[in-house]
Amino acid sequence: MDLAHRLFTQKKFNEASQQISTLLEKTSGNNKKIVKLKSHLALCDYMKTGCTQPEEYLETLNGIAKQFSKDLTTADLGYVIYNQAIVNYQLKRYQRAATQLESLRKNVGSLDPYLGFEATYLLLKLSIENNHISQSNELISLIENQFFQTNTKNNQKNSGLQTRNQNKNRQRLLMLKIKLSLCCSEHNKAELFLNQLQEIKNRNLQQQKENQIEKLNGKELLKENLCLNMMRCKIENSKMNLEEAKNNLWGLSKMVGNLKTEERDQSEFWSSFYNNLGCVELKNNKPGSALFYFKKALLANSQICKNEKTVNNFSKDKRSEIMYNTGLCLILLEKPQNAFQFFQGALVCLYNRPKVWIRLAECCLLEHFRLIKDKEQVGSLNRLVKKVIGQGQSRTVILQTGIGPNDGLNIHEESVSFEDIVSSNVGDLQFHGIPVQSMSLDYASKAASNSILISEKLLKIINNQNQKTSTTSNNNKNSKIDENNKTQKNEFKNGNDNKNENGIEKQKNKEKTNINHTNLNALKNGKTNIDLDNLSKNDQSLKQDLEHGLLLLSYISLCCQNPVTALSSAKMLLNYNPDPYREYLANIYAAEACCLLNNPNLAKEYISQTLQKRRYQVEKLFKGPKNLKIMSPKEYESDWSDCVTLLNLAFVLILQNDIQTASEYIKQASRMFPNSPLVLLSCVYLELSNGNNQNALELLKSCHAFYPLENSQK
């Protein structure tokens, strides 16, 4: 066996494979040994193909695990399970990898220490990547207690090799600690860890020089250096020292640029370099220049994809991440159509993040707003006159013929042909295998639903973790019942019928569909069963995602003339105690849905709630990033929100034939915004209902938006 291992480390996989096969023939009865021999054989075969057949390898490992699961414990099958997890991790099937690693973590005490560390380390890495802060903290303390001795004197007594391994592992753990600290926005802590890491590395270098043993080669040293410096840039970036971060990044680029290595070896660096530079620029409110760098990052990244299709290259391919950043950039540049395509591309790997779905829904909405705005501009908000053409005697007025509620984005989805999927152009870049759906309100509603489902699921996990630490066994029973219910409802509104080039994406789609439809009934009833009061600062953004998803769903449902979903999602949102801005909008949407469902009394109740809490500090909430000029600011002034409330209340009263009270509200609104077309229309209606047609006409004439003739004369 030692010989086989030696052959394996010398990358003589064929010989190693033969050696193991002969050993396997001789072995019988000892299950543990058979498992190990078989898994080694599978590993040799996998390496022989240059890691290009991950599915086959996984299948073999699955077979081994299934065959021996009855006779052997999880600890005995530890290496098999770990290797499955690592391949799944490289294939970006993070959920599956996490489940496998979790089973190893439970048995960490009975695992071989080397395996135990590697499994816990990978699980930690995964949990940091998924922003599971509390779990990550738990894992760090587990690693520190289990695998690192606190007594330094004893360390010195250990064998040299073990100490070196531990030293290396300590560095790896420190790197993850830095990442975790940055996730929690604890910059100082991150800096402290980074300095520690730098110190250890310096000490090691000095020791290596003194002892002249096991020197790292230049390439490895450079990689270590780059990795460390890139992390320093990340810290500077999160500390908002943008200029410094940028300068450091350029410094790194010079270092790599001077190297005489093959371009494909550098592409991994360049893709991360340009992406990170784009992030700095975007933070610096320069979306145009950020877009330029993101595109460069995508080009560099495509070099990685062009290399051999190995699992390693696949795991290095950060297309989804860069595309997501590019999408954000395009939103800021008010190009929702392009942004939509990039977010679709990001979905391939980031389908488990609620924000991607939210952004997709928002792209559809922004396009919807744009189309409506275009139409309004053509008609100048005029419901009768569309256009005035010609001059003098030949001047002609074109009447409006088709403005209605279905204006804007299409409600229904359009099916996309396979050819469109295969050769979709995103901007001036061409990608293959990106699922591109058409923009529609239906798709927006599905995306919003998905964001709700995912954020709800993640919040439930966090909730359960919090409960575990603080509650009695009774609560655990309840959560088990919940989980059983969850598994019964396996539904996921998948907006993509992905047709990808290879099996890797296909598998991911399967995972995608495995996201449980956790709270379908709750959505129908507008009730929630998640306790959101005890969330940590980091989990608050998840809560925000959930609330925003519900708000979007409610709005989109109204646009799609689906008042039932609009009402239930608004109700659910109100149950989560949202911030005043979302509470205000949720009440308005719920009220409109009630009107559509012919329940003006309930609508009045919802609107009254917004009136009771008048003078929201909406300006503060609507501020957002400086670059966002998507909404007209007037719409979000607090006075305007009051005016909207008054007009809507008047509308409900008109529905109830209480014109007199309605007129009071409309008058109040007209005092606030006398020139607003919406207010004027309501005033015109009032005059008409009082039989003052002439007054109504005069009112209409006074507003150029309705009577462009006068306006054009001016």
Partner: protein, 443 residues
């Protein structure tokens, strides 16, 4: 464009209508030869008027209907099945300018005739003819000449009725009405959507006012619910994805424990050997404990003796406690090992092990315990450094209290010794507290 034909052209058309010797399909060719594409609309208009006003003979009517059928075919919106239609719509949506919804203008005339199949014999024949024409424009029927059909012979005509045709006339009617409903009312009424500028003269201004009045009276200004749109979610700093440059490549790992798979206990023995001289990691300690739990007999191979046991106590107290626990059934053996505690100096770890043992075991050897406690007490006096002594006294006090709580220590037997100890170190709070506790117990 004039929608009517000139006299010359009308004569040509009449000739065609009366031509009974040419097969229907050839007639089409003649029509296209005699009339340009632009004139087709006029031809159809004239034919429609002639049909409506009953200006033609029955034979001529059939020919006229045939020409209408061929010059005004069904559009793809009406003929395609649903799937095809969807595809068509999708294409239209992609290129909205390419094909606006246009209905064949003379289709209503043909559809009306096709519907009238129950009135009279005459119209029944025409209805059947039109239906065949709509369903199967290339029917064999049209290879015949008009005089071959026989205008009254419905049975003969029925032979040509295409049973297999997918075309459903009822569906066409429904689709037609659906498409028709999308056309703005102004267009349907035939009113042009442009009017001359009312500002040109007072009279025309009045027209606009009238128009607005009309709109007002028709509830056009009824207010609608104001729906403010949500803003986009703020892009937070951590939303942008920073790509870390990784210096490590994770690969599947080779199980190097393969040679140790056969449990030859070497690993355990080595660990135990190490445990006597150095502190083990938590994981290593767990491994030993786990092995001992699974294979208690391994204890015999562990190489442990009363002589090296103290080393284990000092380096790995948890393991030594576990071992003592396993010895506890053998009274003789445990006493031998406990004796080693008496022989050596009292330390924090030795107290910790005995304390744990006192909690786990029902009753410890009284004699041993008394001797160990008096050792502990005397060890306090041996320390010269006051600070270290104070700390040690505190630990001893806590140890004695714990033994008393576990009802392991017989206070009566040791009262005088304990009292002396407490009085000696009365400056330390823990000692005076202990004294109070002992006194209370004595009462």
């Amino acid at each position: 464009m004039n929608s009517f034909l000139q006299l010359e052209e009308l004569t040509k058309l009449q000739k065609l209508l009366r031509d009974e010797s040419t097969a229907f399909l050839h007639l089409v060719r003649k029509v296209t030869q005699n009339f340009s594409n632009e004139q087709h609309f006029s031809v159809c208009s004239v034919l429609t008027i002639m049909l409506r006003d009953d200006l033609l003979t029955r034979e001529e009517r059939i020919v006229a209907l045939f020409i209408l059928l061929h010059l005004s075919p069904l559009g793809p919106e009406l003929t395609n099945d649903e799937q095809e239609q969807e595809q068509e719509q999708n294409q239209n949506k992609k290129n909205p300018q390419s094909s606006p919804v246009v209905l064949p203008p003379f289709l209503p005339v043909l559809l009306n005739i096709a519907q009238n199949n129950q009135k009279f014999n005459e119209t029944q024949f025409e209805a059947l003819f039109v239906t065949i024409g709509l369903k199967d424009p290339n029917s064999d029927l049209f290879k015949l000449r008009p005089n071959q059909i026989g205008v009254n012979n419905i049975e003969r005509l029925k032979k040509y009725f295409p049973e297999s045709s997918k075309l459903n006339l009822q569906a066409i009617f429904t689709k037609f009405s659906q498409i028709e409903s999308k056309i703005p009312l102004v267009n349907k009424m035939g009113i042009g959507c442009s009017i001359s500028d009312p500002e040109k003269g007072k009279e025309s201004k009045k027209n606009v006012e009238d128009f607005i009045q009309y709109q007002l009276n028709n509830d056009e200004f009824k207010p609608s619910f104001v729906r403010p749109s949500p803003s986009i979610l703020q892009i937070l700093d951590n939303e942008l994805i920073w790509i870390d440059y990784e210096d490590e490549t994770l690969l599947p790992i080779w199980d190097q424990t393969i040679t140790n798979v056969q449990p030859n206990n070497d690993q355990f023995k080595n660990l135990m050997k190490k445990a006597f001289t150095s502190q083990l990691s938590q994981l290593e300690q767990q491994q030993i404990i786990l092995r001992l739990e699974n294979e208690p007999k391994l204890l015999e191979e562990s190489g442990i003796t009363p002589n090296n046991f103290q080393g284990l106590v000092e380096k790995n107290p948890i393991i030594s406690f576990e071992i003592l626990k396993r010895f506890s059934e053998d009274e003789e053996k445990i006493n031998i090992y406990l004796e080693s505690f008496i022989k050596t100096n009292v330390t924090l770890h030795s107290m910790e092990v005995i304390n744990k043992l006192s909690g786990a075991r029902k009753k410890l050897n009284k004699d041993f315990l008394n001797r160990f406690v008096s050792n502990c007490i005397s060890s306090c006096g041996e320390i010269s450094d006051k600070y270290v002594q104070g700390r040690h006294v505190r630990l001893v006090c806590a140890f004695i209290r714990s033994l008393m709580n576990n009802s392991q220590l017989d206070v009566k037997n040791m009262f005088s010794e304990l009292q002396r100890f407490c009085v000696k170190f009365s400056r330390i709070r823990e000692a005076s507290n202990l004294f109070r506790l002992i006194k209370n117990q004595m009462k």
